[in-house]
């Protein structure tokens, strides 16, 4: 499908670009072009996409590229975070009236959105929380809508209130609330008829119900497969009737569900539930992270990002541990390799130095002090050691040193000098870490011209 190739495209665009520290404007623009396509394919409204992408661009340019990610992936990471923030909200439950008061919930939405099914599902959900719901059949227009609700109610073992199809919905709603108060229900859910957001009379009907019945929560049910028009629907319902939350239906399909982003963007109202099937138990909480992943359709990139994040967390742990090892003078050649690897991941020694406070502008200056070639030699030497030798430098007898020199392609003198410098540094670390007064610096760490602290 087209979506997979979008991910691939993104990979290809950035294949030759290594992490370069910061995201440039070009990196961001290139990546966002693909993101834009993905969002549009997912049915996020064109205008929403435009605004969203612009906002992400502003945030992303100049940000640091995380270890293990290319610039494109870094942009995706930011996009994903922004989507989660945008779609998430602090409200995740239907707000209930306090105490014994009856909470009135009104369901609203277009025709065929899935209101009747959602009505029964919500009642089932509330039942598990000890609430006793009454479903009110206010759809007097669609043939057999009342019967459908009655059957669903029976299946869920929830009471249904109906007055046939000869009374006005507002009347039915009023009667239902009165009935609930008398019969010990603490929730009334009004199942209303599907209607077009541009149908003035039908929208007035909902306004009237809201006024006369004092509805506490109005939930908009939206088909997850809705296309570009979702913004119009959501805005009209919110402006004309006023909604408190959104239920996304038919999420068990394979739609990317971009409508969720559009709706949240135009209304700001929380998405409370996702309806996942025809079985009346299939109602789930809304998870913005899952939804973002689904809309973006770049699960593979996102899991890569996750991995990179994990490895950073892991690195942080390791480096903390390494500091401890240094203090104890236990810093061995394994640790040396690891520190070199981390340094490279972070963009090389010079970029690290550039980030250190007070060293800002002097990056180039400092860089000249670092002998990268020598560093490479040192690494080759260490890599030619066996794991045991790295862990326990005392094993290094002349025979082994000769073998290592051959393996690293350097003179034996280089190996000797390196090992000697290493042992000195190790001693100094121990002094320093042990609280004894050092000489102010670690001094002569191999490969650093003996001038830079490490």
């Amino acid at each position: 499908m087209a979506f997979e190739s979008l991910t691939e495209k993104l990979q290809n665009v950035f294949k030759n670009l290594r992490s370069k520290g910061r995201l440039t404007e070009e990196d961001v623009k290139t990546a966002l072009k693909e993101v834009k396509m993905a969002l549009l394919e997912a049915d996020v409204n064109f205008r929403v996409v435009k605004q969203f992408v612009k906002a992400v661009e502003e945030r992303a340019v100049g940000q640091d590229v995380m270890n293990g990610l290319n610039p494109g992936q870094m942009v995706i990471k930011i996009v994903n975070e922004e989507m989660i923030t945008l779609m998430g909200s602090e409200t995740t439950e239907i707000a209930m009236q306090p105490g014994k008061a009856v909470t009135v919930i009104m369901m609203a939405g277009l025709q065929g959105a899935g209101k009747t099914t959602a009505t029964a599902k919500i009642a089932g959900k509330l039942k598990t929380k000890g609430k006793k719901s009454l479903l009110a059949a206010c759809d007097i227009y669609r043939p057999a809508a009342v019967e459908q609700l009655q059957i669903n109610g029976k299946k869920m073992d929830v009471d249904v209130f109906s007055m046939g199809t000869d009374h006005r919905p507002v009347e039915i709603a009023q009667e239902a609330v009165a009935y609930a108060k008398k019969n010990g229900h603490n929730v009334v859910i009004l199942d209303t008829a599907g209607r077009l957001h541009i149908d003035e009379d039908m929208m007035k009907e909902l306004q009237e119900i809201k006024e006369k019945v004092s509805v506490h929560q109005t939930l908009l049910v939206v088909d997850a497969m809705t296309g570009q028009d979702a913004v119009n629907v959501a805005r009209e319902f919110d402006e004309k009737v006023g909604i408190d939350g959104v239920v996304l239906s038919k999420m068990d399909g394979d739609t990317r569900g971009g409508a969720a982003l559009s709706i949240k963007a135009v209304t700001g109202k929380p998405i409370l539930y996702v309806s996942m099937g025809e079985k009346l138990s299939d109602m789930e909480q809304f998870y913005p992270d899952r939804m973002a992943n689904r809309i973006l359709g770049m699960g593979d990139v996102l899991s890569l990002i996750e991995k990179a994040q994990e490895s950073i967390d892991l690195d942080e742990e390791k480096s903390r541990d390494m500091a401890g090892r240094m203090k104890k003078g236990k810093f061995d050649f394994e640790d040396y390799l690891e520190s070199m690897r981390q340094m490279r991941n972070m963009g090389g020694l010079s970029s690290i130095l550039g980030m250190l406070p007070g060293m800002g502008g002097r990056g180039a200056d400092l860089e000249s002090m670092v002998d990268e070639k020598q560093l490479k030699h040192m690494e080759a030497v260490v890599l030619s050691m066996t794991k045991q030798e790295r862990r326990n430098p005392k094993l290094l007898n002349p025979q082994r040193k000769h073998r290592i020199a051959r393996g690293a392609g350097v003179d034996i003198a280089v190996v000797n000098r390196f090992i000697k410098q290493f042992e000195q540094a190790q001693k100094m670390m121990k002094q320093f870490g042990g609280g004894k007064k050092g000489r102010g610096r670690f001094g002569g760490f191999p490969g650093m011209g003996g001038r830079l602290p490490f």
Partner: protein, 308 residues
């Protein structure tokens, strides 16, 4: 929410509010607002097409084709470009004269689609339409799954004044179809309309059930004119293309009923479906009464798409 995040959200909302009045905007403003055919111009065209749910891929194809034509014919005027674009889509969407041949023969119309798109309503409207033409119509209620589906269709049968078979909740839909086909043959019915349960195309067993139903009709009624109409909600986005593809896998589609075209959605996904799967729109639904079904007219469709 942190201050920064709020800012981001507020920006997005404000941006939308600003453009809200333009959301439904005619192509005329695009064409008249441009004096030259440049990148901005193409971008605006793209926006209109995508906002109509035509989708990124089909839009890209359409724009590419347009660019080619403009180069070939040395067109410089945006207004000429407009004509080309509109005509291209209009031609593509035009229905063959043979599209409604089923009206002249004995036929079985199987109506399928995902949940809530308007299958039952469309069956009712079609029954009314055909009955008005003097046809002998029979309706089969093969949605034995959804609560009160049979009652709903029975009401439509009453409105259309045609008989209905099946409709018992829990019955085997395949056997309802088997019985209906044989009843149609026995009674010399002109058109048998079959309403099926809504099913999402990614539910394997439900799709297999449909395949079986389709086979039963073929087997039980060889030589009858077959129509397999998929009902698509005009409000649906790109998923409608997947729906058409997947339903076409289990039952060859002969046409689309595009519903809820009385709303503000444009149903542009039908353009993508037409170009990718070559399935024509045959009817559009424009409301909830029995008369709210029209034969598809590509002129009207294109005019609505571009709001002219």
């Amino acid at each position: 929410m942190s201050e920064e995040k709020k800012g981001f959200f507020a920006r997005l909302k404000a941006g939308l509010a600003k453009t809200r009045d333009n959301i439904v905007r005619g192509i005329d403003s695009v064409f008249s607002g441009f004096s030259a055919i440049d990148d901005d111009f193409y971008e605006e065209l793209e926006e209109i097409l995508i906002m109509g749910d035509i989708g990124v891929n089909a839009t890209t194809r359409i724009i590419e084709r347009l660019r080619g034509q403009i180069r070939e014919r040395h067109i410089k005027e945006p207004s000429e470009c407009k004509q080309l674009l509109i005509e291209g889509i209009r031609e593509q969407m035009r229905v063959d004269d043979t599209a409604y041949d089923f009206e002249k023969e004995q036929s079985v119309i199987l109506v399928i689609g995902v949940n809530g798109v308007g299958k039952t309503t469309s069956v009712g409207k079609l029954a009314g339409k055909l009955k008005d033409q003097g046809k002998k119509v029979l309706i089969a209620a093969a949605d034995t799954f959804r609560a009160a589906a049979g009652d709903q269709l029975a009401e439509w049968a009453r409105r259309a004044e045609v008989p209905m078979v099946g409709g018992n909740e829990g019955a085997d839909p395949a056997s309802v179809v088997f019985d209906a086909v044989n009843a149609a043959k026995a009674r010399g019915v002109d058109v048998l309309l079959i309403d099926t349960a809504g099913r999402l195309h990614n539910k394997k067993n439900l799709m297999e059930e449909l395949r079986k139903i389709n086979r039963i009709i073929d087997r039980e009624y060889p030589g009858v004119h077959r129509e397999n109409l998929i009902v698509l909600d005009g409000t649906t986005g790109q998923n409608a293309l997947v729906q058409a593809r997947e339903f076409g896998e289990v039952a060859d589609l002969t046409g689309i009923i595009l519903t809820k075209m009385d709303g503000t959605a444009k149903g542009g996904i039908a353009v993508a479906i037409q170009s990718e799967l070559n399935v024509p729109v045959k009817y559009i639904g424009v409301g909830e009464t029995i008369d709210d079904l029209q034969k598809f007219n590509s002129d009207d469709f294109v005019n609505a798409l571009f709001e002219i």
